[in-house]
Each structure stands twice: as structure tokens, then as C-alpha cells.
């Protein structure tokens, strides 16, 4: 290891140290300041704001103001100079290629949410009955720890395409040619490339659904299941008529989580196809409007549409939270 590397590592450690302990130092300094500068009674009034203040500041500066600003910018032209009213929205909602992104997002929403929740549920019920449950769970859950970029690289190998006369290096095309078919361009054929990308997301999310649903399935009382079995209900009937209704609240929570995540899906499309060949989704389209087309107005309008799509979830969250506070 040469001295250059040592200095790099040293700098990295220093940056980590400064970034991490700087913030804690700020709190201590402010606290001491308040204790020195204010009398006892005023301290009680000031101190909460010292503790909440930084959080409030960050949330305001990084989330609240930019959100409002984006809504505002969406009414302006490419470089935010001229007011264009709803023109950006009209463009985004009518242009054929942006309509394709909406269609794709809908496809993602329905397929990823439907399949990963359903599959996660089936696995949760089955996995409860084997002794190696923990090992199997860890394996299925593992993709959650992998970044979307890493997952995209993994799946590039699975979808790899070689001409028919060459040896296939991708699993799927090796199977296809082994069965006597022509190799398939999984990522370039417009009829299937969206599904190929969606499969990656399902691979990533099923473990998440499985883990949450599994803890719900374990919560179904054993005597209820036993009673149904004594009454002669089949396992399939028990699954549909008892397990599913009883864990419905969890299914809803898991589904909304996946929906919100899928709405914002970006990395997979950006890395695998760059949004070309009819695979663009809302979030990747927004980045393209920003960086490739330099049109901040349209980029903002797309972001606002994303926000509108999650507002129902936001309202539901706040409602659920209020209810929970009442029950405290």
C-alpha cells in the first residue's frame, strides 16, 4: 500500500469522524449555551426547540420548501423563466411517449404488487411448516439487502443474449435454446422487456412481503385453524376463508408499501435500459427531463404527478396514526 492510499484512507476516516460527531457536538454546544444563558424557567420553554429545531430545519429545508417549490416550478418553462400555466401537465398527460411511461408504471404497479404480495403470502404459509424455516427465509429475503444497481447487474447475466449460433451465457437463453427455441432478446424485444424488468423487482420485493406476512400468519390463533380442520375444512379453504381474512390489515399495509415503492421505481430501468425501447417509467422519465432534455418545468410536473399518486397513502397514514394516538 503506497502513501497515496494511506492518505486517502486517513482522509476518509477524518471525514467520517467529522460528519458523525459534528452533529452530536452541535447538540451539546447548544444545550450548554441554553443552560448558561437562560434562567431555569425560560430554559424549559427554550430547550424543546433546541432538540426539535434541527429536525424541523432539515425537514423544512429539504422536504417541505422544495416540494412547494417543485409545484411552483411545474407551471414554468424549461429553464423556469416564463410562466406557461398548465402546459407542462397537458404535455405530460397527452404526449405518446409520456403516456407510455404511465402505462408502464401501471403495469409495474399491478404486476409487482399483485405477484410479490401473493407469492409472499403463499411462501409465508408454506414456510411455516418446515423446520429449516429460518434458513429458507433468509435466502428469499436476501435480495432486500442488494441495491437495485447490484440486482440489475445480476439480472443482466440472466437475460444475456448471444446469437443463435454462439454458446449462450445467460441462464434463460441457455434454457430456451436447450429446449430448441431461438434465443430471446429479453431486454430489447418491446413485447417482453417491461416484464423482464418487472421480474427483477418481484425478485427483490417478495422477501419483504414474505417476512411481514409471515409474522401475521403466525399470529392467526392455532385453535381457530384446528377448529376448522376438525370441521373438515381443506387446507385450501382454510387459506382463503380464514388466513386471508384474518391477516387482511397486514396485506393492506404491505401492498401500500410496495405500491409507494413501485411508483418511484427508477434505478432498475435507468441501469438496465436507460428508459429506452419503451421501458421508461415516471421516475426515470423525470431524470431524463432534468438531465438529458434540460426541461425543469416538465421534470417538475412529472414529480408533482408522482406526489398526487401518493397523497391517498399519505392521508391514510395520518388517519391511521391519529386513530392509534386515540387508542393509546
Amino acid at each position: 500500500m503506497d502513501s497515496n492510499n494511506v492518505s486517502l484512507i486517513f482522509k476518509a476516516l477524518l471525514a467520517i469522524f467529522l460528519g458523525s460527531f459534528g452533529v452530536i457536538g452541535v447538540f451539546y454546544a447548544l444545550n450548554i449555551l441554553v443552560e448558561k444563558a437562560f434562567p431555569e424557567r425560560a430554559r424549559i420553554k427554550v430547550l424543546p426547540w433546541i432538540y426539535v429545531g434541527p429536525a424541523l430545519l432539515l425537514l423544512t429545508v429539504y422536504l417541505i420548501i422544495p416540494t412547494l417549490r417543485t409545484v411552483y416550478l411545474s407551471l414554468f418553462g424549461p429553464s423556469s423563466n416564463e410562466f406557461v400555466g398548465l402546459k407542462n401537465y397537458i404535455f405530460v398527460l397527452t404526449a405518446p411517449d409520456t403516456l407510455t411511461t404511465f402505462r408502464n408504471n401501471l403495469l409495474w404497479l399491478v404486476l409487482v404488487t399483485g405477484i410479490s404480495v401473493f407469492l409472499g403470502l403463499i411462501i409465508a404459509v408454506l414456510i411455516d411448516r418446515v423446520k429449516y424455516e429460518q434458513v429458507a427465509k433468509s435466502l428469499i429475503f436476501l435480495p432486500m439487502a442488494i441495491s437495485f444497481v447490484g440486482a440489475s447487474v445480476i439480472w443482466r447475466f440472466i437475460y444475456a443474449y448471444r446469437p443463435a449460433d454462439a454458446e449462450q451465457i445467460g441462464v434463460l437463453n441457455a434454457i430456451a435454446t436447450g429446449l430448441g427455441f431461438e434465443p430471446i432478446g429479453w431486454l430489447v424485444n418491446p413485447a417482453i422487456n417491461n416484464f423482464a424488468l418487472i421480474a427483477i423487482m418481484i425478485w427483490l420485493q417478495t422477501g419483504f412481503c414474505m417476512v411481514l406476512l409471515s409474522s401475521a400468519v403466525k399470529g392467526v390463533p392455532a385453535d381457530v385453524l384446528e377448529a376448522a380442520r376438525v370441521d373438515g375444512a381443506s387446507e385450501v379453504q382454510i387459506f382463503w376463508r380464514i388466513i386471508i381474512p384474518m391477516i387482511m390489515p397486514t396485506i393492506l399495509v404491505v401492498s401500500t408499501t410496495v405500491i409507494v415503492l413501485v411508483l418511484k421505481v427508477f434505478d432498475i430501468v435507468f441501469v438496465m435500459t436507460g428508459g429506452n425501447l419503451g421501458t421508461d417509467v415516471i421516475a426515470s422519465r423525470m431524470i431524463r427531463e432534468m438531465f438529458n432534455f434540460r426541461n425543469y418545468g416538465r421534470g417538475s410536473a412529472i414529480a408533482v404527478i408522482l406526489l398526487i399518486a401518493v397523497i391517498p397513502v399519505m392521508v391514510a397514514n395520518i388517519r391511521r396514526f391519529r386513530q392509534q394516538e386515540l387508542n393509546r
Binding site: 486517502l8 460528519g19 452530536i24 451539546y28 432538540y51 426539535v52 429536525a55 424541523l56 425537514l59 422544495p66 417549490r69 417543485t70 416550478l73 414456510i127 411455516d128 411448516r129 418446515v130 429449516y132 424455516e133 429460518q134 429458507a136 433468509s138 428469499i140 429475503f141 435480495p143 439487502a145 441495491s147 444497481v149 447490484g150 447487474v153 443482466r156 447475466f157 454458446e167 451465457i169 441462464v171 441457455a174 425478485w203 419483504f208 411481514l212 409471515s214 409474522s215 401475521a216 399470529g219 392455532a222 385453524l225 390489515p249 409507494v260 411508483l263 441501469v271 421516475a283 421534470g299 417538475s300 414529480a303 408533482v304 408522482l306 406526489l307 397513502v313 391511521r320 391519529r322 392509534q324
Partner: protein, 337 residues
């Protein structure tokens, strides 16, 4: 998270709840600590029924479809990652001419494996990127933890006007897509001249992680026993003393959950790094470098395999070591967007 007490099965209630929850019910534990026959698991009757009268063999046969399905799914889910792992040790020319599974035709032939891909990709910027990812991820985890814990303490145990309103806004912010904030913040960064710096991503990640952190920690800290905190106050402990001696030690499980969740989120992030760090290779994290390799040198499969695996090392280690905390963070994160 639950809408009432009528549904006893919503797991999120007991997950995001307080420290009083029964650790035995934690559904996802380290395999070592929670063998499948843990005493907490109620003896659930086998779906075959009348199990005592049947021989072991019959039971096994009746369960065969279940075993088959579970094993098949587990293998199917592991295979992609496993294939990448094998591929990352194969020489570049072998990689592009034959599938990774061909190594099993003569599995004892160790000359078909090499560490060359790793050396190449580390030289191509992955080593620096690995350091950058650490420099980005550690402070971007510590900063929101500190800020969120202080805020959660104030929101839960201090009396000041507007605290309920602040918390409700935080809950609302949980699902705001961070895409909403990219353009204005990028512009502000450009004006301030701090785009392409670590500070820019630390603060951005801290802010994006805050709603979840405040939500999770406020719920946890709010359920700590009141007596404990009031007793300390009677003894004349200052707010800061209560915080460092009582709140933080008792909240460690919740802090750990949020830490694992936030760390993995930041380490695996591409979007924030892409937008705020721009094209500056000196500060690019592993995800950004990996994506550039895909984009510019997409046919250099040997760089992709080893690069992807290096980028996955830390999250996988964190995942296996701290899975329990990760799951708890995820359960709480079910309300996050």
C-alpha cells in the same frame, strides 16, 4: 398502525410498539438464536391431522409437496446471486463464451477461477468508490440518528406548543417522493457551490431519512415507562442527563433498527448520489461507479461481476449480522415511501 383493537394479527402494531413487546414473538431472528423448535412456538397441529397414528414416512410423504415448493423457491431466489458470485471468479474470456454453470462440468479444476477481475475493478475506481461509500454512509446514518433521537425525545416527553402538529406533518412526509425535492435542492446546491461534496449528500440523506427516524423513535421513546423519566427529573437530572442516561440506552433496539435501515438505504442509493454528486468521480459511491461501468463498458462483463459483488459485500454482511434489526426497521418502514 392498526385501526382498532379488533384485529389482533396486524404485526406492525407490536413491531412499532414499545419496548414492552415480547421478544419471543419476534418473527425474524438469527437462525442460531431461534431454532425452529423454539419453545415460544406453539405446537401447531400438522395439517395432516391425526399425526400420532402415522409413521414418519407417511408424514414426510404428505409434506413432500411443501418441502418441494419451499426448497424450489429458495433455490430459485438464490440462484441469480450465486451465478454472479461464481462468474466473478471466472477469467474474462471464459465469462463471455460460456455460462457460469459450465464450471460444474469439472468442479475440481481450480485453474478456471481467478481473482483477476477483482484486481482489475479495484484498479478501475472501485477501491476509491468503496471508501467513498463508507464516507457517505456512516455520517449519513449517524447524523439523522442524532437529530431524530433528540427530536423524538422532545416530541414524546417535553411540553411545547405545536408538538402534535409537528409529528403529524412528519408522518405525512414519510411518503413524499424524494423526486419532488431534487430540482430545487440541486439548484440551491449549485448556488451555494456545495454540489459534488460529501456534505451535500450527508445532509440530503439525513433529511430524507428523518421522517422515518422521528416516527419510529418517537413511538418507541413515547412508550418508555413514565415513572422512570419522572423519577430522574425529581432527582434533579437535567433534560440532557435524562436523554443520555435513560432515553438513549433504553432506546437502543429502535435506534439499531433505524440505523440498519438507514445505512442500507444510503449504501444502496443511486438516485441521490447521481443527482447531487453529478459526474465527480472522486466522490462517487459504489452504486454510481457500478452504474457507470454498466453504461460505458457494458460489455466488460468481468468488471461488472466483480464490481457488483464488491458493492454487495457490506450490505450482505450487515444483513446477515443484523437481520433482526433490519426486519424491525422494515416493519416500521412499512409506512415509509
Amino acid at each position: 398502525m392498526n385501526t382498532g383493537n379488533s384485529q389482533p394479527v396486524d404485526p406492525t402494531v407490536r413491531k412499532t410498539g414499545g419496548p414492552q413487546k415480547d421478544p419471543q414473538k419476534d418473527p425474524q431472528k438469527d437462525p442460531q438464536k431461534d431454532p425452529p423448535k423454539a419453545p415460544s412456538k406453539e405446537p401447531r397441529p400438522s395439517y395432516v391431522g391425526k399425526r400420532k397414528e402415522q409413521s414418519n414416512f407417511d408424514r414426510l410423504m404428505a409434506k413432500a409437496p411443501v418441502h418441494f415448493a419451499v426448497i424450489a423457491i429458495a433455490v430459485l431466489w438464490t440462484l441469480p446471486t450465486f451465478g454472479l458470485f461464481i462468474s466473478s471468479f471466472r477469467p474474462p474470456d471464459a465469462l463471455v463464451t460460456s455460462g457460469w454453470w459450465t464450471v460444474f462440468l469439472n468442479p475440481l479444476e481450480f485453474t478456471q477461477f481467478t481473482l483477476g477481475n477483482y484486481q482489475e475493478v479495484l484498479a478501475a475506481g472501485m477501491g476509491q468508490a468503496f471508501l467513498n461509500s463508507l464516507v457517505i454512509s456512516v455520517p449519513a446514518t449517524v447524523i439523522p440518528i442524532a437529530i431524530a433521537t433528540f427530536a423524538a425525545y422532545a416530541l414524546a416527553w417535553m411540553d411545547f406548543p405545536g408538538r402534535q402538529a409537528i409529528f403529524i406533518v412528519t408522518v405525512g412526509l414519510l411518503v413524499v417522493p424524494l423526486q419532488m425535492t431534487l430540482i430545487p435542492i440541486l439548484r440551491a446546491y449549485n448556488v451555494l457551490g456545495i454540489s459534488s461534496t460529501f456534505l451535500a449528500v450527508w445532509l440530503a440523506h439525513a433529511a430524507y431519512g428523518l421522517p422515518l427516524g422521528v416516527y419510529l423513535l418517537r413511538n418507541y421513546i413515547g412508550s418508555l415507562p413514565r415513572d422512570l423519566i419522572e423519577a430522574a427529573a425529581v432527582d434533579g437530572a437535567s433534560y440532557l442527563n435524562v436523554f443520555t442516561r435513560i432515553i438513549v440506552p433504553l432506546s437502543m433496539p429502535a435506534i439499531a433498527s433505524f440505523a440498519v435501515f438507514q445505512f442500507l438505504w444510503v449504501w444502496n442509493d443511486l438516485l441521490v448520489a447521481l443527482v447531487y454528486l453529478g459526474g465527480n468521480q472522486d466522490v462517487a459511491p459504489v452504486t454510481l461507479v457500478l452504474r457507470n461501468i454498466v453504461g460505458d463498458r457494458g460489455q466488460d462483463w468481468f468488471l461488472l461481476t466483480s464490481g457488483a459483488f464488491i458493492s454487495m459485500l457490506v450490505p450482505m454482511a450487515v444483513f446477515f449480522a443484523l437481520q433482526r434489526y433490519f426486519v424491525r426497521g422494515l416493519l416500521a418502514g412499512s409506512v415509509k415511501g
